[in-house]
């Protein structure tokens, strides 16, 4: 029983990181029709910046989170305003451009931070562990679950209960009509992209506690984000949350129960979802 709870908590904390990685990309895909393959690299940039502020300069963890988020957000904003803005409705070009940025940013990170991988680090506040049902469990993972959950609620509230969320959803449904109503969709899109990149950066700092940071991370994270999006469905916070938690929990139990097949459990989930509901569990029907 306690093993079950531990696995569940492992799955939930990993799933929260997955949710944060995928949510930004999913919203950008759904709202702006932009396929941003550089999303995983933004996560990596956030993780590196967070590592530098929180570990190298010993700043408080919260400042590390903010710095990582802002760092990734600014890089994302530059990509969107400088380049992607000219490529709306051109999916293939977006793919090529953002993958070009995967190469560029990966190499720049290698330049700045060097090739050696950073171990998973824990903030001083979150060091240590607490006892759950007779077993010790690291505080950092519990904090990840809580932070992820809080962010999920804020994002959901932004999406479903605020004016800006309504604008984004309106733009998703009918771009021309929304612009006709006098909404500056360009500015909305730029802020959506900025927020999405910020979330990727925050996810990077949180995820670095579980996964560490290394140079090949960008593509691995991109793959995880895509699987979560395929499972959960594109364009909504709820879809990313469901997909992320599902994949995280399945992965944790897969690792505990059949360690040899653990790599494939998430692919298996993805294939089953594709066969049953190609548009994802909570995706809109095409």
């Amino acid at each position: 029983m306690e093993q079950f709870v531990i696995n569940m908590l492992n799955g939930l904390s990993y799933g929260m990181v997955l949710f944060l990685i995928a949510s930004g990309m999913s919203i950008v895909m759904g709202a702006m029709n932009i396929t941003n393959l550089a999303h995983g690299v933004l996560y990596m940039v956030g993780a590196y910046v967070g590592w530098t502020t929180a570990v190298k300069y010993g700043a408080p963890f919260v400042i590390g989170l903010v710095a990582g988020g802002l760092g990734a957000g600014i890089v994302g904003l530059v990509i969107e305003r400088g380049f992607l803005r000219h490529l709306y409705k051109k999916p293939n070009e977006q793919v090529l451009l953002t993958f070009g940025f995967v190469y560029i940013l990966t190499n720049l990170c290698l330049w700045v931070w060097g090739g050696w991988p950073r171990m998973p680090f824990t903030a001083k506040v979150l060091a240590g562990s607490i006892e759950i049902m007779g077993k010790t469990y690291p505080k950092a993972r519990l904090a990840t679950i809580i932070i992820g959950f809080v962010l999920a609620i804020i994002l959901w509230w932004l999406q479903d209960r605020t004016r800006i969320g309504a604008m984004v959803r309106a733009g998703m449904d009918n771009k021309e009509m929304t612009m006709g109503l006098g909404i500056n969709l360009e500015r909305v899109f730029a802020s959506v992209f900025f927020v999405a990149s910020c979330i990727a950066g925050v996810a990077g700092v949180l995820g670095a506690q579980l996964l560490g940071v290394y140079n090949a991370l960008g593509l691995e994270i991109l793959l995880l984000a895509l699987i979560v999006i395929i499972v959960g469905g594109v364009g909504s916070i709820q879809g990313a949350l469901l997909g992320g938690l599902l994949i995280g929990v399945i992965d944790a139990f897969g690792k505990a129960l059949f360690p040899r097949l653990a790599m494939f459990t998430m692919y298996f989930t993805m294939i089953v979802v594709l066969l049953l509901r190609p548009s994802g569990l909570l995706g809109r029907k095409a």
């Binding site: 000219h86 293939n92 070009e93 090529l96 560029i104 395929i230």
Partner: protein, 336 residues
């Protein structure tokens, strides 16, 4: 009437003259020149031909059908892995065994993955093919049987033998083998593109609903196009296995999948020879960048992608084709 006829007669002669020169240059550059170059440059040109074949085949799905696949390296690598496994576990390097098995393996995997990937369309097709490609990547990474002890991937491959005792391939005859296979395959793809099947694919790209209304089973067309395209990926993968001597999970992964897509976009999507030009550009930029700044070549390559997209969005190949049109129609009456 006389004047028009004369003009019509004059133009083909003009075109013929230029195309004879162009094909002559092409034959000299890829057909004769390599025999006199260093084996390193021969290797680079072989690599170029393999990737040209890979991306022209990829273009069937990407350009003609308009579905962005980001998983073609999985089938490319599968061809290479068949060669590698045959060599490592069974010590078979016979071309007549390896090539058909490699192509069959690629086709078989595509026949399964195609069913999954074609349940979605548009940009989601890209996501699904990407994830399926990474599935093969992680299989190759984790299964011991597919790795030489002590490393990721399989090393120690050799050029194929043909069962003709005593005579073995050297790099230059392998180069000509690749050249012949590539030319035959591109000719076949041209046939396919110009057939009613190829036109149906373009029809599906432009308006799937209309094609369905006209009575086409569009799903089946898409499925066949996908599998056909992968057959050529398999051919290229088999040749690449022989060429590279090492095959590793990277060759199944997204980095490799991305190359044909770039080559198509840079050269000109949906044109027959655009991808060849794109392949030439990328392979040679890769070569120069890796000589000049080995540490920073991804930066150069990424910069190239960004510049192409921002400034030559239609593709360098299309730009060259327009130039070509201008040269072969000096009167300036271009119909495109």
């Amino acid at each position: 009437m006389g004047a028009i006829d004369q003009e019509a007669l004059a133009r083909p002669r003009q075109e013929k003259w230029i195309s004879v020169v162009a094909y002559g240059i092409a034959v000299i550059v890829v057909g004769i020149l390599p025999a006199f170059l260093s084996s390193y440059i021969q290797g680079v040109i072989t690599r170029f031909l393999i990737f040209a074949l890979f991306s022209v085949g990829y273009n069937v799905v990407f350009g003609y059908l308009g579905l962005p696949s980001l998983g073609h390296a999985a089938y490319f690598g599968a061809g290479g892995y068949v060669i590698a496994v045959l060599k490592m576990h069974y010590d078979i390097d016979l071309f007549w065994v390896g090539a058909p098995l490699g192509i069959l393996m690629a086709t078989f995997i595509a026949a399964m993955f195609g069913i999954l990937a074609l349940r979605v369309s548009g940009i989601y097709f890209l996501l699904v093919t990407f994830a399926l490609g990474q599935l093969l990547y992680s299989v190759a990474w984790n299964v011991k049987w597919l790795n030489t002890p002590g490393m990721q991937g399989i090393a120690g491959l050799s050029l194929p033998s043909f069962g003709t005792g005593g005579w073995t391939l050297d790099p230059i005859s392998f180069y000509y083998l690749v050249l012949v296979i590539t030319v035959i395959c591109i000719y076949l793809i041209r046939k396919i593109a110009n057939s009613p099947f190829g036109h149906a694919l373009i029809g599906i790209r432009e308006g799937e609903g209309r094609m369905r209304t006209l009575g086409y089973n569009t799903w089946l067309y898409k499925y066949f196009a996908f599998v056909i395209s992968v057959i050529f990926s398999g051919v290229a993968g088999v040749l690449f296995g022989y060429y590279n001597y090492v095959i590793s999970p990277t060759h199944l992964g997204v980095g490799t999948s991305f190359l044909p897509m770039c080559m198509c976009i840079i050269g000109g999507t949906g044109t027959l020879l655009g991808p060849v030009i794109g392949a030439a550009l990328i392979i040679f930029v890769e070569l120069f960048a890796s000589i000049m700044t080995p540490e920073r070549w991804p930066l150069t390559l990424g910069g190239l992608f960004v510049l192409t997209i921002m400034f030559a969005r239609e593709g360098v190949g299309v730009y060259l084709a327009k130039l070509w049109n201008k040269m072969s129609h000096p009167y300036g009456s271009i119909k495109s």
